[in-house]
Amino acid sequence: MNPEQILFIFFGAISLIGAIAVISFRHPIYSALSLIVTFFAQAGLFVLLGAHFVAAVQVIVYAGAIMVLFLFVIMLLNLGTLSAQGAIGGKLKGFAIILGILLAAEGIYIAMNALNDTAVASAEAAAESVTTTTYDIGELLFTKYLLPFEVTSLILLAALIGVIVLVKREGQEEN
């Protein structure tokens, strides 16, 4: 077992455990914390895959900003655990879990088989140890994907305005 495998198993296990914890904890704060753990493990996997830049951005964006926002809202609304009974009864819940297991089985099947004799599989051997640098990403981002890049900026702007409108109007109603 080489170090990469050990690390993969380590980070993979953490992210799986974290993910399961997200959907198992009653309290949203703990879910959020588990999610942060999962994100960290994913960042570790990214580093393992040679994607340092993405790993850093993963931590900055997800752990540093998005999850703080989640915590902020949870704390702001002071959400406790929700009462157990709901319209979705136990049957539907069981059905949902079965569905999920089926979905997972299909996903694993795809992951194991569907890539045979594709371009991905043939290219794999050639490019096992390639590390993409920030420079590569930047170059792609500002040449080939310049338009999508600009469009994302528009999306962010739209989100910004949307949030302001959503929250502002409410505020004025109350005053």
């Binding site: 319209a87 979705i88 539907l92 059905f95 949902a96 569905l99 999920g100 089926l102 979905l103 299909e106 099947y109 795809i110 569907a114």
Partner: protein, 629 residues
């Protein structure tokens, strides 16, 4: 000649249209500005046209280039490409030159109108479309322009859209034109099926080399050219589709001058001149010539009995267009186009003077209520007189040269056509001077309250008149001196195939004959109308028949319009629409209602229930895709 020049030439009116069309609201307070923007846009085009004309090098160096690939398929390509040769250059000068003057004239004429900026937007758009029509180097581009000018014509005829008669006239023009356009389209399809391209250059070369798919056997080109001619009949108001043009006079008078006299209606002539090679090979010119001469005669007779000055001019236009078709029909393409040019000037001039009269007479058009206007409106009178003399074929004025050439060529083709043409020339001179005497001479029949306001038009209106009067008078002499050896013929030689019949007979004799005929018409008009007003009521049955335009509109109405209306009402609406289509729609709705009633029970409002079904779908789909597909 550079690509850029052509682009500027073409785009300038478009820019004018966009400015006036989009920002007209802000320009409204300053309507002069709006008008001058429109005029300036056309002036730019005019300057470019002149540059293009001079750089043509006497017709030796045509320009033919593709700017943009428009539609590309496996085996065909339609391009946005432009061709400037002698024919196009002449058309460009006419369009932008007359167009510019009419724009300037309109600044004064449309003063104070509610839709001032809209008017100039339409006018600029028209110029743009017309330029595309003449600049295109293939039939598709020509068709785009063809439809564009049709649209603008419709918009401008119905410019005063709150007037019922104007909107009706607009619709009539549009529908009648559609019939012609349909023919044009079919012709285009035929040509495309035969040649696999619509580019003029390749198509004409292939046609000359007899290298094309014979879709209709030997008569392929006959079918194609006749279909194209149907388009020309619609656009250029020939029998039997001429009915829209007199009604089109409902639009503002400058529009009548620009679109329904000088430029758009001549598009058909241009198209045939452009397709000269095809018509020559197909030998369909005779049909064209006969339709033309019949239209010329027929319209001239109607014009005899009209009292509305714009209508007289409209029928005169139809008649003169007929002459042009005679010209291009008998193979004297240069003569036909030459008449197009001279006609553009003198008919544009006459319409504008008619507008000037209307302007002074508070929109009165009936010459029975005019008379003696010469004293009040000297400039208008003199310019109109020049135009009328030109159209009547007064010696050495422009119409004399061009009409003479056409008649001369017609003699070589068929003496009968020549004969009818000559009679028409007499009629033309007669009704024109009936109009002049009725309007400008004799006792004043103007109503008193109108008379007190009678005045000469402002400089912005009479200046274009004066300017137009000059070419109306002399352009024939300048371009046409020497008959078939004239400058104009030399210039356009490269575009048209060799005339296949030589001008026979004594040129001078023909000139004398047509001059005498023209003068006789004037003299006859003088004897009848110089002292008394045009009669109020038709005196005999024949007169009444002619005055009512041979009841052609009524015949069309009862033969075509009413049956279609009835069929639509009883068959299509009552049975097909109400019964079948509504039945299907209602039935579908009923089925969906039943299904929906069942399905709505699944709509619980719980997002998660929906997501569960969504995921179920994904799982099933994936399963099918992975294991069964």
């Amino acid at each position: 000649m550079s690509k850029e020049l052509i682009v500027v030439l073409l785009v300038a009116p478009l820019v004018g249209f966009l400015i006036n069309g989009l920002f007209g609201k802000w320009l409204k307070g300053n309507e002069k500005l709006s008008g001058w923007i429109g005029a300036l846009a056309v002036l730019v085009s005019l300057v470019c046209s002149i540059i293009a004309f001079t750089s043509l090098n006497g017709g030796a160096a045509p320009f033919d280039e593709t700017l943009y690939e428009w539609i590309t398929g496996e085996s065909f390509a339609f391009n946005i490409g432009f061709r400037v040769d002698a024919l196009t250059a002449v058309m460009l000068l006419v369009i932008t030159g007359v167009g510019f003057l009419i724009h300037v004239y309109s600044i004064g004429y449309m003063h104070g109108d509610e839709g001032y900026t809209r008017y100039f937007a339409y006018l600029n758009l028209f110029v743009f479309a017309m330029l595309i029509l003449v600049l295109g180097n293939n039939y598709l581009m020509m068709f785009v322009g063809w439809e564009g000018v049709g649209l603008c014509s419709y918009l401008l005829i119905g410019f005063w859209y709150d007037k019922q008669s104007a909107t009706d006239a607009g619709k009539k023009a549009f529908i009648v034109n559609r019939i012609g356009d349909f023919g044009f389209l079919l012709g285009m399809f035929t040509l495309f099926a035969a040649f696999g391209t619509l580019d003029f250059a390749t198509m004409f070369d292939d046609a000359e080399a007899d290298n094309f798919q014979k879709v209709f056997g030997a008569s392929t080109l006959v079918v194609a050219t006749l279909l194209l001619f149907v388009g020309a009949i619609g656009k250029s108001a020939q029998i039997p589709l001429y009915v829209w043009l007199p009604d089109a006079m409902e639009g503002p008078t400058p529009v009548s001058a620009l679109i329904h006299a000088a430029t758009m209606v001549t598009a058909g002539v241009y198209m045939i001149a452009r397709s000269a090679v095809l018509y020559d090979i197909a030998h369909t010119g005779e049909v064209v010539a006969w339709i033309g001469v019949l239209t010329a005669f027929f319209a001239a007779t109607i014009a005899l009995a009209q009292n509305d000055i714009k209508r007289i001019l409209a029928y005169s236009t139809v008649s003169q267009l007929g002459y042009m078709f005679v010209g291009v029909g008998v193979g004297a393409y240069a003569s036909g186009v030459f008449h197009l040019v001279t006609h553009a000037f003198f008919k544009g001039l006459m319409f504008l003077t008619a507008g000037s009269v209307m302007h002074a007479m508070a929109n009165e058009l009936d010459m029975r209520k005019m008379g003696g206007l010469k004293a009040k409106m000297p400039i208008t009178h003199w310019t109109f007189l020049i135009g009328a003399l030109a159209i009547a074929g007064f010696p050495f004025l422009s119409g004399f040269w061009s009409k003479d050439e056409i008649l001369h060529s017609a003699w070589g083709s068929s003496p009968l056509i020549y004969g009818i043409g000559l009679v028409t020339a007499f009629l033309t001179a007669f009704y024109m001077f009936r109009l002049i005497f009725g309007t400008f001479y004799g006792e004043s029949r103007v109503e008193p309250e109108v008379e007190s306001h009678l005045h000469e038009s402002p400089p912005v209106m009479w200046l274009p008149l004066a300017i137009l009067a000059i070419p109306s008078a002399v352009i024939g002499l300048l371009l046409g001196w020497g008959g078939h050896e004239s400058w104009f013929h030399h210039f356009t030689k490269s575009v048209f195939p060799e005339a296949h019949h030589d001008a026979s007979g004594n040129v001078l004799l023909f000139m004398v004959i047509s001059s005498v005929i023209g003068l006789a018409g004037i003299a006859f008009a003088w004897t009848r109308y110089s002292k008394r007003a045009p009669s109020d009521e038709p005196t005999n049955a024949m007169h009444k028949f002619v005055a009512n335009k041979y009841y052609v509109d009524e015949v069309y109405n009862s033969l075509i319009v009413q049956p279609i209306k009835n069929a639509s009402h009883y068959l299509l609406w009552r049975i097909v629409d109400n019964g079948v289509i509504d039945g299907i729609v209602n039935g579908v709705a009923a089925i969906i209602r039943v299904i929906g009633g069942t399905l709505r029970r699944f709509q619980t409002g719980l997002v998660q229930a929906y997501i569960v079904s969504m995921v179920l779908g994904i799982v099933l789909f994936l399963a099918y895709y992975l294991f069964f597909a």
